[in-house]
């Protein structure tokens, strides 16, 4: 014991000063003057609305990506005490003093800054020298577009950070002597889950990492570590991905602007909104029930079965005739004309018995329109807009030997999951016309002016099984009590409500939300600064992020043209070199030893592979794309360039002294020019100092760039 006390207290620390230096510089470039400009910059206007909704815990759907990205931005806002009370309506709007701009932008900026040391470490894990690592870090450090993208409330830097972290930690695990500890592997899995959770594009990097990992583990089949790899790289990311949604859904529990996209059951689980209306409705639909029937198609907007006191025109514009009976449509707004009463065909009364007689699967019913008392009817008359289907009308007897055909059979399509009894909100019901066995459905076409542009409802014989345009759910529901028409109208006008909470499981919500996110089609239109992927490689385009409200100070997403050129050049050089090596190796000529060859292949897998998976998918996408989508791919190239240079230096030009010296001088010159271009474009990166129109003209290196300047 005493001996131990006599030992000197020693701290041995190895500090990589280069690493510390680039990290400090990275923090300085990314974090300085973070709250300037004190105005909404570019896509902050888009992400900001979601941050506000988080602060207010209001449910929303965003089809641009999974929720983790939004949550990270929101947590930054939360730390800064943002209360969600800011209207994100236009780019350039000034933030009020109550909004802590610095904290809103802090997390993306931190991620952006950490990318620089990560690239340094990743190069080391690829088994290249500290000098190469420094080169890669400098390329990333002085890339204007990455700086711009990190300094605002945007998600690309977060995505890049997680992707790099995933690769770094996986390679660290792989390079450790066996048996390695699984901590790095777990970290890698977690980062993969996070990357996919931030943006769907992260999925492609994740798949690449899986491919690399499976190539590595293929050699180890039968080894025990394989189960670790599968567990950490497959199970962990999947669980995490679901976990983000769990947090998202349990956090956002209030109804909001996107409710109507979701099913009635989902809406009922949110506070306010539908649950306020439907609280306490009777659960089972009975004869005499007053209901509104909502079509299950929520594209493009929800609508309810509707009728009104106007008839179909006798002749349509194209000369076809109609039945001239009362119009039945689907109407996208709540309206008293959406109420229908369920009637037993064998009885006259329109009130609910005591006890209520519930309607079951297979029962035949009539539907009476609440306000006009017309029966829902269909017959062999061509529908107005979709002539191959039957017209649906509110029956009027014109004495023209056109008998009423108003019996409908109830077909509950999810009866296995729910029950045989028709339930409010939960049951999805098809109404099958008894005389013609056609099914009531929404045709998806809107009627012309005579139908007030409401949506057409038809009965279709040749139905497709899984078309949700056939399903209807009861949304609002109450038991009818008044037999007289007048009283009933008064009853229909009065609002409904009473109380119960409907439960829907997390998995059902998750599946529905995920499906909606993937299928919701937003109107994709061209944006003033959108571009096509091929323009990114040569940086034909830029994006104006912000312009000062009165001066010429402005921020643009423009990359460092010199670094950009270096990146493209190294991509080409790698491919060329790889082809030459491969062909020569096939003929038995080994230019480099096997160890170096493995290192070279690994570099290609990670960097060129990374570039490919982050770039090629965009070529196939039918979306509005922007220059910033290229940034993740670009980072891989910055990783590649110095490593390739080192490879050339140590292996290709080993004995050629003259070119070797030229290479070193060239590399230094390129580094210098990268720094100078960085300095040149700084005013457009940081938005200060303000430049004159003439200076701005000078910065327009390409004709296709859009740089703004005010006329004075």
């Amino acid at each position: 014991m005493l001996e131990m006390l006599q030992l000197p207290l020693v701290v041995t620390a190895q500090v990589d000063l280069l690493l510390v230096l680039v990290s400090l510089l990275a923090f300085w470039t990314r974090l300085s003057h973070l709250n300037y400009p004190n105005a909404v910059v570019f896509d902050e206007v888009y992400y900001g609305q979601f941050v506000s909704l988080y602060m207010k815990r209001v449910f929303f759907i965003d089809d641009s990506g999974p929720p983790l990205g939004h949550m990270i931005l929101a947590s930054g806002a939360y730390l800064g005490g943002f209360d969600g009370n800011f209207v994100w309506n236009r780019i350039g709007a000034e933030y009020p003093s109550t909004v802590n701009v610095w904290s809103l932008r802090l997390l993306p900026a931190l991620c952006g800054a950490l990318c620089v040391p990560l690239v340094y470490l990743l190069t080391l894990e690829l088994k290249f020298s500290h000098l190469s690592a420094l080169g890669a870090a400098v390329l990333l450090l002085l890339e204007n577009s990455l700086i711009v993208q990190s300094r605002f409330m945007l998600l690309e830097s977060v995505l890049i950070f997680f992707v790099l972290l995933a690769f770094f930690s996986y390679l660290r695990f792989h390079n450790k002597p066996r048996p390695p500890s699984p901590y790095w592997l777990i970290l890698s899995g977690v980062s993969c889950g996070a990357a996919v959770g931030v943006k769907y594009m992260g999925l492609f990097s994740y798949l690449l990492l899986l491919v690399v990992a499976s190539l590595h583990t293929w050699k180890l089949i039968g080894d025990k570590t394989i189960s670790h790899v599968i567990l950490c790289l497959v199970v962990v990311p999947v669980l995490l991905y679901v976990f983000w949604f769990y947090v998202h859904l349990s956090f956002l529990n209030r109804s909001g602007p996107h409710d109507q996209l979701m099913s009635s059951a989902f809406q009922a689980s949110l506070q306010g909104g539908l649950s306020r209306i439907t609280r306490g409705q009777p659960l089972e639909v009975a004869y005499g029930s007053q209901v509104t029937l909502r079509s299950s198609v929520s594209q493009p907007i929800p609508c309810w079965l509707h009728s009104h006191k106007v008839n179909y025109p006798i002749r349509y514009d194209n000369g076809r005739g109609s039945s001239h009976q009362q119009q039945v449509t689907c109407y996208p707004f709540k309206d008293v004309n959406n109420w229908w009463i369920i009637k037993d065909p064998g009885r006259q009364q329109l009130v609910v018995d005591t006890p209520p007689r519930p309607v079951r699967h297979g029962d035949v019913i009539q539907l009476v329109h609440g306000m006009t008392s017309r029966f829902l009817n269909s017959h062999d008359v061509a529908a107005p807009m979709s002539p191959h289907t039957q017209e649906v009308s509110g029956y009027i007897d014109f004495n023209v030997s056109m008998p009423a055909q108003n019996l409908w059979r109830v077909d509950i399509s999810n009866r296995e999951a729910e029950s045989e009894v028709w339930k409010t909100i939960l049951s999805e019901v098809r109404l099958i016309h008894v005389n013609t066995s056609a099914v009531l459905k929404l045709s998806g076409v809107s009627l012309p002016d005579w139908g007030f542009r409401q949506l057409e409802v038809v009965a279709d014989k040749l139905f497709k099984a899984h078309s949700s345009s056939l399903e209807w759910t009861v949304e609002e529901h109450r038991y009818g009590t008044s037999q007289e028409q007048k009283e009933r109208e008064a009853e229909l006008h009065s609002p409904t409500h009473i109380d119960v909470d409907r439960k829907i499981s997390f998995w059902a919500k998750f599946v529905e939300l995920q499906w909606k996110m993937l299928t919701v089609k937003q109107e994709e239109s061209e944006h003033k600064y959108s571009s096509s992927p091929l323009e990114w490689i040569t940086m034909e385009t830029n994006i104006a992020y912000w312009l000062h409200s009165s001066t010429n100070a402005q921020i643009h997403l423009i990359g460092n043209p010199v670094s950009w050129g270096v990146a493209n050049l190294s991509l080409l050089a790698y491919q060329l070199l790889a082809v030459v090596y491969l062909l020569r190796r096939r003929r038995g000529l080994k230019d480099v030893p096997d160890g170096v060859w493995d290192q070279f292949v690994c570099l290609g897998c990670v960097c060129v592979g990374g570039w490919l998976v982050n770039f090629v998918p965009f070529l196939l996408m039918d979306k509005t794309l922007f220059l910033y989508h290229y940034l993740p791919a670009l980072c891989y190239l910055y990783l590649l360039s110095p490593a390739l240079l080192e490879h050339a230096h140590t292996h290709l030009l080993r004995y050629a002294h003259q070119p070797l010296r030229a290479l070193c001088v060239g590399a230094l010159a390129v580094l210098l020019s990268i720094f100078l271009t960085y300095r040149t474009f700084c005013p457009l990166t940081y938005g200060s100092p303000e430049l004159s129109a003439h200076q701005l003209q000078g910065l327009k290196w390409r004709d296709t760039w859009d740089i703004l300047y005010r006329r004075r």
């Binding site: 089949i221 066995s437 497709k464 099984a465 003033k528 096939r586 003929r587 039918d622 296709t704």
Partner: protein, 732 residues
């Protein structure tokens, strides 16, 4: 445990022989070497001949049975029959597919006595007395070769008659393959060439030990010819070209690693393939187009898609030996054509831009068809009335006002976003009877001209610069939505770069006050025509977007046979033909894909662990080729934005069926891994019989789909097909 010992051969035992094989012949041979292979081949020779005859007989009889039924136009016959007629009549038309398929249809019709007079207006039209059997019979004959080719390909890949006969049986008794072969369509022709190319490629691979022999050359050249044929029918042929390309790269890679070959030999190999697989197909493909242009020399419905110069070739077109005033003058009535290929005519009509799309003024679009709404009148800045005497010529730099003849609105632009290209400004028709505002003025510039140059009709490239905003009249090439009648967007671009999109030429020119002069337009040369027609085809292809409200087929529907296509008839009283795969065949195919992947995984893990399974080489090599073929013919459809149909899956389905044959055969034969000899043999036989029986019985059940059915629909009571509607989405 005993059986394991016998069938798994630990690698360590014959490691020496394996590595020797590696060095000698690359990694291409199994350890028994070429001689062993030939012995095996001879032993299967005789039964395979008989089986081949059987396959051929069944194939032809199923395809040619009831070939003339129904005696009316079915589905796309309305297009391809019509186009066949165009060849017979030598009328120029436009289609999104290359011409070979339609040329062959036309030829078949011509040979069988069809005179090209039937109009093919819409599906359901009765043929009456026309000789349509020749065209249908031709397609069915080509379609009948598919099972035969499948048989030969699988036999070549697996050396197993059983595998080959399974693949052929699947195809012979598939109702979908029968239906799609029986009508005047491009698909049987396309699939014939695809399968022929694959067969020649496989045969060629088999010749690898007899380089540069006559049969080696024969199969190589045949591969090239069939590739040209496949691409000449539809651009889907590109996928089989990729398949052959990958196979060739792999082959060359193998040769490169063969150290017994000198670099000169390898260069020879390379050049031979480059000649037969690149140069030869290109020459043939170009020849097809040359024939196409020579045959079709009369003006027809496709003229407007092409440039003015192209149209001047066509007899009957108003530009053929045209005569009109030579220089553009004020007061002339003109049509203005965009110089971008398939750019269309400047067009306007009585419809307004809808609410929310810029200003609510009259639409201005570009339109590909000739139409009186394409006419514009050239006016001076101010005056409206025509002056007496000779009209003044329009010169470079002049300010003009373009009045739409039909609606008397002026061509107008202003600082509103264009409907689709948001970076540009909107172009509208504005004002009435010539009164407008300063935004109606455009400056005419002749490209490459100087101030004062006159504007030559047809030959000058003209730009129209908007006076007020300085932008230039531009055709973006994007298709407007429904409100714009799916015509092409016209904008005013602030970017003044000279591109064909912003250049226009004056095509028709009417001015009674000027003398008409005969113009011989610069005739385009063949390469220009070829390039232009390809660009027009690609535009047309990508323009086939799915329409709103239309139920369109998704690629994931196809392998599960989710939904077919109605070829003929809708109602109970009509003669109905429904294109739908035989569900048993298709579901076996689908299951086999999964089975194949599992078996490959098992085999490769076993190999990695030091055991080698008996059939793993055939499984990986032969199966891999077929799997690749399936992927190449299926996966690209997921990325396509154009409208897709069920019948696009059929080429992939051929590969899938061949893979099934190979996979199931190996599965049956690998039964001895788990069962002892007599049982494993019984298992094998029972499996084969069960498979055969289920295919035959399902064909018996579903044959009315192909050969026609009448009576009530399947979901109605009393239908003969009542119990066969296994999926709700089928509509027969």
């Amino acid at each position: 445990p005993n059986s394991f010992q016998t069938t798994f051969t630990p690698v360590s035992k014959d490691k020496n022989s394996q590595t020797a094989g590696h060095l000698a012949g690359g990694d291409t041979q199994s350890s028994n070497g070429p001689s062993g292979q030939f012995l095996a081949r001879e032993s299967i020779e005789s039964p395979s001949k008989v089986l081949l005859m059987l396959v051929a007989g069944l194939s032809f009889s199923t395809r040619l049975y009831m070939i003339t039924e129904p005696p009316h136009v079915c589905w796309d016959e309305t297009h391809f029959g019509k186009m066949g007629s165009y060849y017979i009549n030598r009328t120029f038309f436009f289609d999104v597919h290359p011409p070979l398929g339609k040329m062959l249809i036309g030829l078949a019709g011509y040979m069988s006595g069809y005179d090209g007079t039937f109009p093919f207006i819409k599906p359901g039209d009765k043929y009456e007395n026309q000789n349509y059997w020749g065209m249908r019979g031709f397609c069915a004959t080509l379609g009948s070769f598919l099972p035969i080719f499948a048989y030969l390909i699988v036999l070549e890949l697996s050396n197993s008659c059983t595998a080959a006969i399974i693949a052929a049986t699947l195809l012979i008794f598939d109702t979908g393959c029968i239906t799609i072969s029986q009508y005047i369509l491009l698909d049987p022709i396309l699939m014939f060439f695809i399968m022929a190319a694959v067969l020649s490629m496989v045969k060629f691979n088999q010749q690898r030990y007899r380089s540069f022999s006559a049969s080696w050359w024969l199969w190589l050249v045949l591969t090239g010819i069939n590739l040209a044929g496949a691409l000449g029918v539809k651009f889907v042929g590109l996928f089989v070209i990729i398949l052959v390309g990958l196979n060739t790269i792999w082959d060359l890679w193998r040769l490169l690693g063969d150290m017994s070959l000198s670099l000169v030999d390898i260069a020879k190999h390379f050049l031979a393939r480059a000649f037969a697989l690149i140069l030869l197909p290109v020459i043939l493909y170009v020849t097809i187009f040359a024939v196409h242009f020579v045959v079709l020399n009369k003006s027809g419905p496709g003229d407007g898609f092409f440039s003015s110069a192209f149209q001047s070739r066509l007899i009957g077109n108003n530009l053929h030996n045209a005569s009109m005033p030579e220089y553009l003058a004020f007061g002339s009535t003109v049509t203005i054509k965009n110089l971008r290929i398939a750019g269309g005519y400047l067009h306007s009509h009585w419809h307004l831009y809808p609410e929310g799309v810029g200003a609510r003024q009259q639409q201005v679009t570009a339109y590909l068809h000739k139409d009186y709404n394409n006419l514009w009148v050239v006016h001076r800045q101010q005056d409206n009335n025509s002056q007496s005497g000779n009209p003044d010529l329009v010169r470079h730099g002049d300010i003009v006002r373009l009045e739409h003849k039909e609606t008397t609105r002026n061509l107008h632009s202003h600082l509103h976003e264009a409907p689709l290209t948001k970076k540009h400004f909107q172009v509208t028709g504005y004002g009435i009877n010539g009164t407008g505002d300063a935004n109606d003025l455009w400056q005419v510039e002749v490209c490459g001209g100087r101030k004062g140059d006159p504007v030559k009709v047809l030959r000058s490239k003209v730009r129209f610069l908007h006076r007020a905003t300085g932008c230039v009249l531009y055709s973006s090439g994007k298709t407007l939505p429904k409100w714009g009648w799916e015509q092409i967007e016209v904008t005013c671009s602030p970017y003044l770069k000279e591109t064909p999109s912003s250049q226009w030429n004056i095509e028709d020119h009417i001015n009674p006050k000027l003398p008409n002069i005969s113009l011989s337009v610069l005739k385009p040369n063949f390469l220009e025509i070829l390039l232009e027609s390809h660009i027009v085809m690609f535009r047309g292809n990508s323009g086939l977007k799915p329409k709103d409200n239309e139920m369109n087929s998704k690629p994931w529907h196809w392998p599960i046979n989710y939904q077919g296509l109605r070829f003929s008839g809708v109602n109970a009283t009509e003669y109905r033909v429904y294109l739908l795969g035989n569900p048993v065949v298709w579901w076996i195919n689908l299951a086999s894909l999964g089975l194949y992947l599992t078996m490959v995984a098992v085999a490769s893990i076993a190999t990695q662990r030091g055991f080698s399974l008996e059939h793993s080489l055939v499984l990986v090599r032969g199966g891999g080729l077929l799997m690749l073929g399936w992927l190449l013919h299926y996966a690209p459809f997921f990325t396509m934005g154009r409208i897709l149909y069920f019948h696009h899956y059929f080429p992939a389905m051929l590969f899938s069926s061949m893979l099934t044959g190979l996979t199931l055969d190996i599965l049956f034969r690998s039964a001895d891994l788990l069962l002892h000899p007599p049982y494993s043999y019984w298992f094998q036989r029972a499996g084969q019989l069960l498979l055969l029986f289920s295919i035959l019985y399902s064909f018996y059940l579903f044959h009315p789909l192909s050969y026609g059915m009448t009576g009530p629909l399947a979901h109605e009571p009393g239908s003969a097909m009542a119990d066969l509607k296994w999926m709700d989405s089928w509509e027969f």
